[in-house]
């Protein structure tokens, strides 16, 4: 079973993603901040990471860099999710090596399509 690591500080959205991904047949670990995400990444070895850009304790870009340094997550595709509409954010995410980029509120069917395309 493919594994997804969710990094999302809003507990409700994290839960919705969890329900969605589990129903889609993925094994899911949910984390709510950068520290928790880093610790989990070390032990969990996910196949894909869903990463919120604005997080307590560090932004998603910094965290994505850290995932690159962790052996278990070094080459794992990262999908960025954000509620921000700052201009250039999508481009920045893509330049940071993102596998995809979604703005909140996202279309969950499109999101699943992207995930399935990457790791199914």
């Amino acid at each position: 079973m493919k594994k997804i690591l969710i990094v999302e500080d809003d507990k409700n959205i994290a839960k919705a993603l969890h329900v969605r991904m589990t129903a889609q047949g993925y094994e899911v670990a949910t984390t709510f901040d950068a520290v928790m995400a880093t610790t989990t990444a070390r032990s969990y070895s996910p196949d894909l990471i869903l990463l919120d850009i604005s997080l307590p304790g560090g932004d998603g870009f910094v965290l994505a860099d850290r995932f690159q340094e962790i052996t278990n997550t070094a080459n794992v595709p990262v999908i960025f999710i954000t509620a921000s509409k700052k201009p250039g954010l999508r481009q920045r995410a893509m330049e940071a090596g993102a596998a995809d980029f979604f703005e909140k509120p996202f279309d969950s069917h499109q999101l699943i399509g992207a995930i399935d395309g990457l790791i199914h």
């Binding site: 809003d10 409700n12 329900v19 969605r20 509409k85 509120p105």
Partner: protein
């Protein structure tokens, strides 16, 4: 910001003090010749229409020191002084005092160079010593005081306006930041609402009845509407503060348009509206912000669907046109409610909206959005160097045309 504070601020601005007729004019005479000082004093006192209080000194430095304490209306300054020369005194007065006192420079006979220098250094007037008469002195002093009063009034006014302007800019920025925070904060609960509704609708929380499905679909629709509104709000604040930027990438406009048409046909089918696309020319790849152009086309086609009755028709045409420059034009024509002639010019204004049923209202009254869509679309197309135009006949339908330059050099922006 309320109307009352705006009114108050404009009245704040009119408060420059007008000198009254019986105001005692305080004059400082700096001249190393005591006879000359007496003469000027005599001339001034001969003026029956004004009262003068005269102080005098033979030293230039005194002018600077005395001006610190005395609130003079005018200074008569001799160029040739025993301590420092008149121009130095002028410079020092200019540097050290915010409120400028008019200075009349008294120069030697025929020394035009000094006169010019004095005026450059900030003297209000100059009088050649030998020509000083009761009449010329009176006229020069009167003019100098009047001129200086006006100059001070203008500079005070300018300072007030600058302060007001800074204050308004700060408030404006604060409001913009507030909007951004609000929109951002709204999106998080909106996302979870929409997600859980969609989870239930997809049957992931167990079976639901037909009624439940119908109602949840309504909730879902409202979530989508709210998403659009929040995004529009953010876009408008960005566009207003000039913080909006487009990322131009060579794009295949025809496949983009096909994709938008495909998405919109889901909504048009619900109203049994026929949506057709006519590709008249092949279009080369042009630099576009794909997301933004999708947003604009969805907005225009969405409006057409909104304002067209069931069973109506919407026709989209994409073609090349050559005017002064080469353009690619996308027109969206419907046979819906149309827009009244007198309202046509304001469709791109903020908060303008036509009531989908009657076509009568110009204010936002229905649940059909914030009325920001076309304003945003227009700005976005402008950022691409293009334009949007509208043509409409009330009761017959509307035609919106987006024109984008084929070859656009955006270095000037």
């Amino acid at each position: 910001m309320t109307l009352s504070t705006a009114q108050q601020s404009s009245s704040d601005l009119i408060c420059a003090e007008l000198p009254s007729a019986n105001h005692v004019r305080r004059i400082l005479i700096i001249d190393d010749d005591p006879a000359d000082r007496e003469l000027y004093k005599h001339f001034l006192r001969a003026d029956k229409s004004n009262t003068y209080e005269v102080e005098q000194s033979e030293f230039g430095q005194r002018a600077i020191d005395m001006n610190k304490s005395g609130d003079y209306d005018c200074i008569l300054l001799d160029y040739y002084l025993t301590d420092i020369d008149g121009l130095k005194v002028l410079e020092s007065l200019n540097e050290n005092f915010t409120r400028s006192v008019p200075v009349i420079m008294l120069t030697g006979q025929g020394n035009e160079t000094i006169a010019v220098e004095a005026l450059r250094a900030g003297a209000t007037d100059y009088l050649p010593k030998r020509h000083v008469s009761e009449e010329s002195l009176k006229r020069s002093v009167n003019n100098a005081i009047e001129k200086s009063f006006l100059r001070n009034a203008v500079s005070q006014q300018t300072d007030r306006l600058k302060t007001k302007n800074r204050e308004l800019t700060r408030k404006h920025d604060e409001i913009q930041r507030f909007y951004q925070t609000v929109s951002h904060e709204l999106k998080t609960p909106l996302t979870s609402m929409k997600e859980f509704v969609s989870i239930i609708l997809d049957g992931l929380a167990g079976p639901i009845s037909e009624d439940q499905r119908e109602y949840l679909e309504l909730v879902y629709g409202s979530c989508l509407q709210m998403t659009n509104d929040v995004n529009d709000l953010l876009d408008v604040t960005r566009l207003e503060t000039g913080k909006y930027s487009v990322e131009l990438v060579p794009t295949d406009l025809i496949s983009l348009l096909k994709c938008v048409k495909q998405n919109m046909s889901v909504i048009s089918k619900d109203k049994s509206i026929t949506l057709t696309l006519d590709i008249k020319d092949s279009v080369p790849k042009i630099p576009l912000d794909e997301q933004r152009i999708k947003q604009v086309l969805s907005n225009i086609i969405g409006n057409a669907i909104k304002f067209t009755q069931k069973g109506g028709k919407i026709h989209i045409v994409i073609e090349l046109r050559k005017t002064q420059e080469e353009l690619v034009c996308i027109s969206v024509e419907d046979n819906g409610t149309g827009i009244e002639k007198e309202k046509l010019h304001s469709v791109f204004e903020r908060l303008f909206q036509v009531n989908p049923e009657s076509g009568f209202d110009t204010e936002v009254t229905s649940k059909a959005g914030l009325g920001l869509g076309l304003t945003i679309s227009k700005e976005l197309i402008n950022l691409h160097g293009g334009s949007i135009t509208v043509d409409s006949e009330f009761g017959k339908g509307s035609k919106f045309t987006v024109s984008l330059p084929l070859y656009w050099n955006n270095t000037e922006t």
